[in-house]
């Protein structure tokens, strides 16, 4: 007879660790284009990214980088947009672009078997896009309408006003694509952006691939290009001044719920205390078991969800709490957020809660580093933000070594519950 199971006792747990980022190979094509190769995963798929120092930090007009990226697949020397899409469908491949603050990337995701057929399509898209006027006007009309529909949503308006108040509409981190901004962009702006910013690329290859085959093909497609050295320039975010406004900013919008965005400016990503503050933030509102979620969702039922983020941009970082709450709960929800911030600053954290957060963050690394597509994005982040893999993994050292005393100290030093910007979009009774 087996002994009776004691269901109150958790099974013994082993020590936790994280999956370290694997090494990758760096090589160059004959014209100097850097290529980063990272074999990863068991499934026969691969992602190739062409990446540029571009993006929202490097544009003259709001929306210029994003629209240029979108138009790359709208027509090339050899294909119109439909034929290009059909080619990709037939091979079961996707070409997407991604625009960030510090980079613009064009990604080809494909089965390994079709890599040879699809890589020339990537070449077309990045080297010889034609930016057809008709497609551009049509895209613009669609986007104008989407913006209009989106602006009926309290959450969209809250994000827009939060960016405006905290950074300012001209700051790359506060920029928001309004209808006026979109109207101001012409086809010539996109062509210029492509010529100025999308020339000097780096290539990454992540997934399952044959090293010699892919290098030969990359050399053939990209190795003989004249490598145009772009003028050295730095992100506008480096010199822009964030407004850093504080206090209540209320936008009336009829509806059943209000969207809240509460926050303040914070340190850039390279700051030595950045990783520590991401742990403080996790405790406060960064995961489902966070204090904000427990208090405002699980104890009060004011919202379906509440999260906070400690955002480490390259230049100016920020802290934000976001939630959609019933209009009637707005004052109580804001008061509870401030109270939770004060509590963390005044009373810190018990070892047990901190230990839970440590384990949660380490365990999560396994899911964040599972697919070649995740690794491909991590590699791009590392290259475009000039943060080596080893430095990205340093967060796990910080996670292991942080103490309750240092959590409280960090919270007290960097959280500013009395100087919050409070954006409220909804219908709040006087």
């Amino acid at each position: 007879m087996a002994k009776v199971l004691d269901r109150r006792m958790a099974p013994p747990a082993g020590p936790l660790s994280y999956i370290p980022l694997p090494p990758y190979e760096v090589t160059r094509l004959s014209n100097g284009t850097p290529v980063y190769l990272l074999p990863y995963g068991q499934v026969e798929v691969v992602e190739v990214q062409a990446m540029y120092r571009a993006g929202r930090g490097y544009q003259d007009l709001i929306g210029q980088a994003g629209l240029t990226g979108e138009m790359l697949t709208e027509g090339t020397q050899s294909y119109d947009s439909l034929r290009l899409a059909q080619q990709l469908d037939g091979y079961g491949a996707w070409i997407h672009h991604e625009v960030g603050e510090e980079s613009l990337a064009v990604k080809l995701a494909t089965t390994t078997a079709n890599l040879g057929h699809t890589l020339p399509l990537l070449q077309e898209v990045i080297l010889v896009p034609t930016f057809p006027s008709e497609e551009f006007e049509s895209l613009k009309q669609r986007k104008l309408q989407k913006i209009q529909v989106r602006e009926e949503k309290t959450a969209t308006l809250a994000r827009k006003h939060f960016g405006y108040e905290l950074f300012g509409p001209d700051h790359p981190y506060g920029s928001y694509l309004s209808q006026e901004a979109l109207e101001a962009i012409s086809r010539d702006h996109l062509i210029a952006y492509h010529q100025q910013r999308l020339q000097q690329m780096a290539l990454t290859v992540v997934g399952r691939f044959d090293r010699e085959v892919i290098l030969d093909q990359l050399e053939e497609l990209f190795g003989s290009l004249d490598r145009v050295e772009e003028e050295a320039s730095i992100s506008r975010a480096a010199t822009a001044r964030a407004r850093g406004r504080q206090g209540r900013h209320y936008v009336e919008k009829a509806g059943m719920q209000a969207s809240l965005r509460l926050g303040h400016l914070a340190m850039p990503r390279a700051h030595p205390d950045y990783y520590g503050m991401t742990i403080v933030n996790t405790i406060l509102g960064g995961y489902f078991g966070s204090r904000l979620m427990k208090n405002i969702r699980e104890e009060k039922g004011y919202t379906y969800g509440i999260y906070s983020g400690w955002i480490g941009n390259r230049y100016d970082g920020y802290f934000v709490v976001q939630s959609d709450v019933g209009n009637e709960y707005v004052p109580s929800a804001i008061a509870e957020v401030k109270a939770e911030m004060h509590k963390l600053m005044d009373e810190g954290v018990e070892e047990a809660e901190l230990d839970l957060v440590r384990n949660y963050l380490q365990g999560r690394s396994v899911s964040q580093r599972e697919t070649p597509f995740q690794m491909s994005d991590l590699l791009r982040f590392s290259l475009m933000h000039d943060i080596p893999f080893a430095e990205l993994d340093r967060q796990y050292e910080v996670i292991r070594e942080i103490t309750p005393a240092s959590v409280q100290e960090l919270a007290a030093r960097y959280l500013k519950p009395d100087d919050l910007l409070e954006v409220v979009v909804g219908q709040v009774a006087e």
Binding site: V45, D89, T303, D324, L356
Partner: protein, 410 residues
Amino acid sequence: MQIEFQTFFLDNGLKVIVHEDHSIPKAVLNLIYRVGSRDEDPDLTGFAHLFEHLMFEGSRHIPHYDLPLQRVGGENNAFTTPDITNYYLSLPSHQIETGFWLESDRMLALDFSQEKLDIQKRVVIEEYKQRYLNQPYGDAHLRLVDLHFTTHPYRWQTIGKDISHIEQATLADVEAFFYGYYAPNNATLVVAGDVHLAQVQELAQKWFGDIPRRELKKHPLPEEPEQTEARDMTVHGDVPYPAVYKMYHIPSHRERDYYIADLLTDLLANGQSSLLHQELTRKQQLSPNASAFSWGLHDPGMLSINATLAPGKSPEAYEQALAGVLAQLQDLNEVALQRIKGKLEATFVLQKTTILNKAIALAISDALGDPDLINTTPEIYRNIALDEVHQAARTILAPENCSTLYYLPN
């Protein structure tokens, strides 16, 4: 790529499926219960989903569900569909026993309380507002399914027909629902990732073995009568442009014909090369977002075609153009059919890059009647012939098989 798996049963009826993948030190437990919004009382809709929330509020021996899981580096979530309720967690593989402990205790007995119920009712009501009522066009789908189905419980969505139904739920309802549906003999456990069959057999027996088999609350569902003429309905709301939503009856996901309907949906709306996008969005510029979806449900389900209209365009002009596009399906040729099949084929490969996706796909396949659907589904699509697509387009996308919702600005 073949997904290998093994299956065994415990004496209490719990079915266990094991898929080993040792590429990373991660394991997933996915527990699917064969209960969904279809099983709800028409006067108490939204209950299966509300119940899903309560499953995270502590069980008989474990006061908090999330804390011990996070303590061992795990994450979890759940979703409710009209047919099933699915719970999943992933964690570092050496911590897997914690997953068995947590999932088995909440199958054994929940820690019901009025206070917890009251709080989750409020949370779900805020979810209802956030997702359906506080968004332009947010309630369109709620209204459309109610028009499309006259009889079958699919006529309400998982969130529920009305907020008042959620407000009315009582603790007695919660308890009856639990003992009527949350039973080992009404569930399948999928364990996937860095695990071994023998280890899973031992842990499943240890933690789930002593949970009693329960008498299930089974009830026949009314069959949806065949629709014989077009239906429509007009609503007004605080929206910037008119929108037109159409819904068509399609076969059950258990039938091969469902896959033909799904392929039609892909031809209509999967990506830039799709018919709706090319014709209605680009060429005729009638709608910025014309799209189509199909729902693979256990009983006959639905395919919808939705569009917000471009400024100045009328529903009549849109509908006329849409009829033209649907007629074009008859001109579909072998090349275009092979193209969409190529795309679907790649989609299936990409889905297999995460352990969680594989576990969920196994569970959903099992609920449909055969876990091996995870492997055979690509073959089903591959074997669809051109004339079958033409035939399905004629019968499914016929006006008399359609319900239309016009959503107009105030």
